[in-house]
Each structure stands twice: as structure tokens, then as C-alpha cells.
């Protein structure tokens, strides 16, 4: 709260002097107050300042939720020169309202078309590129290595192996999966993975873009696989009243052995008392071997508002944040993955596995709720939660989602 107040005061002071200040002011709005991400950003700003002593960088850091609200105002009323935001459908409303400006030239001049190739599709809309990403992280299955060792299980590579492993866990009184669906999005992670493995990246995109229906046989097949997973593997009871953090408890206690999650959760496991030897990471197993492997990798990026005053230096910043050395350092600090394929990674085992995983992927999905429009994402995720509580409602739910889809797009 105090920090917010400080940034607010700073912002007011800023806007007061903005008129008289010289043209080399560069205002950057950033959206994470958590210690790690904040430090990563501030270190990068220091480096940028050292390299460009003639630019006066002014930084406003807000907390994530407040930023989500504030950006809707400041893009029009008092635009910074650069703001952090998310690619995929999350940037769509601002792109459509003409509030961001395209940065194709930045990509062209710095060779990002090659170095950031994997993420290019996600950063594009209407044939133009709208921002530059600085970090992302992998999703997959985090599992209790000690339980796997005890049951003499290997990392399952295929769907059948996964189901077999689940069978063995259940015989020994271990619930295969933990999850907390109270805030809905965790269920979307499971759905995305089963869909990506059943149908692949193109179907994921077509679905979230509203091009295919939820009652399409391919999506129904995804749900059938999900039903199999629920029946033969199973998730912890009461998952609908747990947040993702709450769901760590059965995982840490050894009641559940696997968790479909993003890499940010590793901190949570460690805080719950688990050591690096007890937990490990594996990619979500193959379901259909003919489908090329795509992964979930939500990215964070920087954008230039249309009303930015200092576009020239804003583009310098964008070119700066995607440089291999900058991304290496930044992502080491925040424990995530650099997107630039020439960047180095830290020796954390989860980061290394994630880097390998994402670099060999054929497509990177952002996440259901970032790829689909807000109204669809909300209805979809509620549907996923309802399905997980009662799989017999499958067709009703899919039909209802079709109706929502028809209205949203």
C-alpha cells in the first residue's frame, strides 16, 4: 500500500513536470511488486541507464491487479512511453482500440524474427507485431520423485503409461493428481494440455479464436480423454474449494503425487518444506503420437502505447529487453526462462528442463484465459470446473459453451 502511494505520488509529480522536462524522459510502467520480479526489472533499468546516460528513465511500478485496472485509464489519459502487458488475446482489446503501436521495425532491425521466432505468432495481431517479450515459463507435471521411487515408477512418456502409473498409485493409496480449482484457471491448464496432446496447437488456436465449436468431435475427444484421466487417475477431493496454493498441502503431505502447474509453483513446494530431491518435473505425456508437441508458455512483454511521447527511446528499451545478455540476467533473477534463443539459463534443474522443453516445442500456447477472449474464458473455465465435479454433464456443458461462443465472437 505504501509503495502504491509512493508510485502514485511519483506519477503525479511526474505528470506535473512532464511538460517542461527535456525530450529524453522515458516513462516505463511495470506491473510486479513482488521482490524477485521487481529486482529483475530494476536491475535491467540500471543497466539500461548505464548504457544510455542521456536518457532519463522514470519508472512506475504497480502491483499486478492494480496494473490491470490502471492500464485501461492510463493508455488514454496519461500514457507512459512503455508499459508491461501480456500477449495473446489479452493485448487484443488495446490493439483493436488503437492504443498500442506496432513495433515490426524493432523486430526487423534486431533480428528478433529469428531469435524470438517461437513467440512471434503470439505477439502478432492483424499481421503486425505489437510488443517484445522478456520472459516466460513452462508448464508441465511436477511430481513427487520420492513417491515415484518408492513405487518404482518411471516418468510416463505416453498416455497409457500415465494411466498405468496412476493405477499403481491408487493401489497404494496415493491420489495421482492434486489441483485447486476455486479460481478456475488451474482447470484450464489441464484442459489445455489434454487438448494440445489430443489435437495439437492449431486446434487450440482455432478453438480459442472461436473458429471451431466446443461440440466439435475433436474437442469432445479431448473431454473424453479428460474423463478418462478423472476416472482412472483422479484428482484430490474438494478441489473446488481450494486455491492453487491450498492444493500444495496434499502434495507436500504425500497424499497426492502429481500437479499440472506452471514453474512459478516451485517456490510454493519449497516453502511447504519439500526439497529439490523430492520434486521433479516432466512434460505432459503424449496422447496422440501424430500430434507435434506444443507447450503452454505464458509470456510477459513490453508494449508502446500510441500516445507515448518518446517513441524513439521506447523502441531502444524494447530492443534492450530482448537482448540475450539482458534476458539471461533478468530471468536468472526472477527464476523464469529467457525467450531469446541465444540467451543463457541458470543451472536450476527446473529452468533447465523447461528451457529444453520449450525450445523443442513446435508451438507455444499462452494459456486458455489469455488466448480466448475474456467472456469466453470465464464461461469456459466455469465449464471445466463443472465438468471436473461431474463428468456426466459433459455434453450439456459443451453445448452451453457453444452458445456462449456464438455470442462472444
Amino acid at each position: 500500500m505504501f509503495l502504491n502511494l509512493k508510485t502514485a505520488v511519483a506519477a503525479i509529480a511526474l505528470s506535473a513536470v512532464a511538460g517542461t522536462a527535456f525530450a529524453r524522459d522515458l516513462v516505463i510502467n511495470f506491473d510486479d511488486l513482488n521482490p524477485g520480479p521487481k529486482k529483475g526489472f530494476e536491475d535491467a533499468v540500471e543497466k539500461f541507464k548505464a548504457e544510455n546516460p542521456d536518457i532519463n528513465v522514470i519508472v512506475n511500478i504497480n502491483d499486478r491487479e492494480a496494473h490491470k485496472t490502471a492500464i485501461r485509464n492510463f493508455l488514454t489519459a496519461d500514457a507512459p512511453d512503455v508499459t508491461s502487458w501480456y500477449p495473446g488475446n489479452r493485448m487484443a482489446p488495446f490493439v483493436d482500440a488503437g492504443l498500442f503501436q506496432p513495433v515490426d521495425d524493432v523486430w526487423e532491425e534486431n533480428g528478433f524474427n529469428e531469435d524470438l521466432a517461437a513467440i512471434k505468432a503470439t505477439m502478432s495481431r492483424d499481421g503486425k507485431i505489437w510488443g517484445v517479450p522478456y520472459s516466460y515459463y513452462q508448464w508441465g507435471i511436477y511430481y513427487r520423485k520420492d513417491i515415484f521411487d518408492l513405487l518404482e515408477l518411471e516418468e510416463p512418456q505416453t498416455w497409457d503409461e500415465l494411466l498405468a502409473a496412476c493405477g499403481k498409485m491408487k493401489e497404494n493409496g496415493v491420489t495421482p493428481f492434486t489441483i485447486g480449482t476455486k479460481f478456475l484457471w488451474t482447470a484450464a491448464g489441464v484442459f489445455d494440455y489434454i487438448n494440445l496432446r489430443t489435437n495439437g496447437y492449431d486446434v487450440h488456436n482455432a478453438l480459442t479464436a472461436g473458429e471451431i465449436k466446443y461440440t466439435d468431435p475433436r474437442i469432445v475427444a479431448t473431454f473424453e480423454n479428460w474423463e478418462t484421466l478423472i476416472n482412472e487417475c483422479g484428482f484430490v477431493d474438494n478441489h473446488a474449494s481450494m486455491s492453487w496454493q491450498d492444493a500444495i498441502a496434499p502434495f507436500a503431505n504425500g497424499d497426492a503425487a502429481m500437479y499440472v502447474m506452471g514453474n512459478f509453483s516451485v517456490d510454493g513446494y519449497k516453502n511447504a518444506g519439500l526439497t529439490e530431491d523430492q520434486i521433479d518435473f516432466m512434460p505432459f505425456p503424449t496422447i496422440n503420437p501424430d500430434v507435434p508437441r506444443a507447450e503452454e508458455a505464458p509470456a510477459d512483454a513490453f508494449f508502446i502505447p500510441t500516445n507515448a511521447k518518446n517513441v524513439e527511446d521506447a523502441k531502444k528499451w524494447l530492443a534492450f529487453v530482448a537482448r540475450p545478455d539482458v534476458q539471461t540476467q533478468w530471468n536468472k533473477t526472477i527464476g523464469q526462462l529467457p525467450i531469446n534463443s541465444k540467451a543463457d539459463i541458470s543451472d536450476d534443474k527446473f529452468i533447465q528442463q523447461g528451457f529444453e522443453l520449450l525450445n523443442s516445442a513446435t508451438g507455444l500456447a499462452q494459456f486458455y484465459d489469455r488466448d480466448a477472449p475474456a467472456a469466453m474464458a470465464k464461461a469456459g473455465m466455469e465449464g471445466f470446473q463443472e465438468f471436473m465435479l461431474d463428468t456426466s454433464k459433459k455434453m450439456d456443458i459443451l453445448q452451453r459453451l457453444d452458445e456462449v461462443q456464438a455470442e462472444v465472437y
Binding site: L75, G173, K182, N253, G254, A374, A375, E382
Partner: protein
Amino acid sequence: MADAVATDTRTRSEPGFFRRNKLAIAPWIFLIPALIFFAIYVVIPIFESLWLSLYQWNGLYDADGNSTAVWVGFDNYVRLWSDPNFWTSLRNNIAWLVLYMLAVPAGLFIALFLNQTVTGMRFYKSMFFFPFVISQVVVGLIFGWFYNPDFGVVGTVWKAIFCEETTNILGNTTFRCERPVPDILSSEQWATYGIIAAGLWPQIAYCMILYLTGLNNVAADQIEAARLDGAKGWKMLWYVVVPQLKPATFIAVVVTVIGALRSFDMIAIMTQGGPFGSTNVLSHYMFEVAISEYGERYGYGSSIATVLFGIMLIFISYFLWRMYQDEKGGR
């Protein structure tokens, strides 16, 4: 008024306009600050949201500051009609209205029970009144934990009865249950009732305090007379005490109806409208559609607000009419 001014200028200008109309003008001067704020924060927004409900708008302005809203006429209302979430919310609103009314008799009985002279009665009274004093958010949190199947009271009691403690594969303590622990706030059927029960707790306290003050004004001689005539128990309560509590009952009903219709905090704290939208009420659904992270449909949200406003208007006009009638009768 205009006439008065006109005649005033034509005739003598001896006593000024303000002087002569002091009594008529003075109240308005005192009212003006309140009226201005009431207009800015209540009246104008009502008309704005009525107007907005005829647009489709994601809340954004373009780079030049022009609204990106698109006129859609009554489209939003047509969509409401076929939106199952809207009907769920409306049904829940009715459930809230009906069940919330339990607060009125419950408050009355607690008030009757507490209306005796025993040492420490003030302390008991304040204990009963306590839930009304704490914030709804806190009540929501407390009940959320109370219902929690893992560490809440419900879960703990259930585990004591139906579950046995064993050790899992790693040797840690865990529970194996004959029947799964009821997860009230995640059950489509029960979650709404769970939240209403939580909401009743402070509401009963509120009605109780209204009745306690009402009971102070019950005429002792009438009770005496009724007792001499042989009335007691229920008959005494129904025919002698309750009629005298009519003003308190009226206020209790009014605040309960309004409380039920604007139930928002508890839902936002306990379930966020979940599981899958089954505990939404109109006010929360409106928030979800318009302002929350997955919302950004301001036009649609405004149309929900308009419907809620309409429902409230029915009750409020009735109450106002009743009060007006009473005032007239009293004069």
C-alpha cells in the same frame, strides 16, 4: 416562484425577495450540498448506466479519448433473456429474499429472550449484537473457514465421525473417510444456502436490536390488562406484543429486503459466484461481467444493473408509499 418575483418587482421593493421567502429558501440552502453530491454519485450514474445498457462497450477509449462504445439498442436485454447465468442469479436473489426474511422472526425471538432483567444482560446483549458490528467481509471469511472441508469446523467434526486416521505411503498422517467430507461452498445445491446462513448471522443481530428498542416502548399497562384477561404465551405475543411492535417490524423488513438484494460482499469473499456461477446474484454477476478480470462488458453489466434497479424500485416505492401513508395518518 416566478410569479412572486414578477409581482415583487412591480410593487414596492421594500422587503427583499430573500427576506420574504426566508422560510421557503432556507431548507434548500441546507440541502444543496447533499443534493449536489447525491446527484453526482447516485442520480446521474443511474441515468448513465441506463444509457450505457443500450451500448456494447469494453470500457476503453481510443488514443484520442473517444469512447469505443457501439450502439446496440435493446440487444443486451435480449441476450439477458437467454443467458442461463442471469436466471441463476435471479433465482438466487429470490432465495436470498425469501430466506433472509427468517432474520425478522429470529431477531424477534432473540430480542424477547434477551428482554429480561438478569445480571450481566447488557453483556449478553452486546454479544448477540456483535456479528452486526463486524464487517461483512470478516463474517464471510469466518464462515468460509467454518465450512472448509480440510481444516474448518465442518471438516474436523466430520472427520471425527466418519473418517479414520491412517498413515500414507510416506508415513505422514492422513484421513480415509467412509463418506467424503461435505464441501458446502463448492456444491451447486448447497453453496447459496451456505452463504445465506452466513449472511443471516449479522442480519438477525440487526433485527434483534431493532426489536429490543421496540420492546422498550411496549405499553406495560396493556400487558397488565391482557394478563388480567387471562392472555398468556403465544396469544399474548401475537395479539398484544407484536401489534405494538409494528413500527419495528416494518423497519426490520425494509432493512432485510434491502440487505438481501444488495448481498455482494459475502459472495465475493466466500465463492466469487462459484462453483461455476451457481451462487451468483445479480449484483455480483453485474460486477463479474463489467468490472472483474474476465469482464469488460460494461454495456451488458449495465443492463443487469438496470434489472436489479427495477426490482429494487418495486420494493423501495412500496416502502416509501407505506411511510408516506403512515405520515399522513399520523398528522
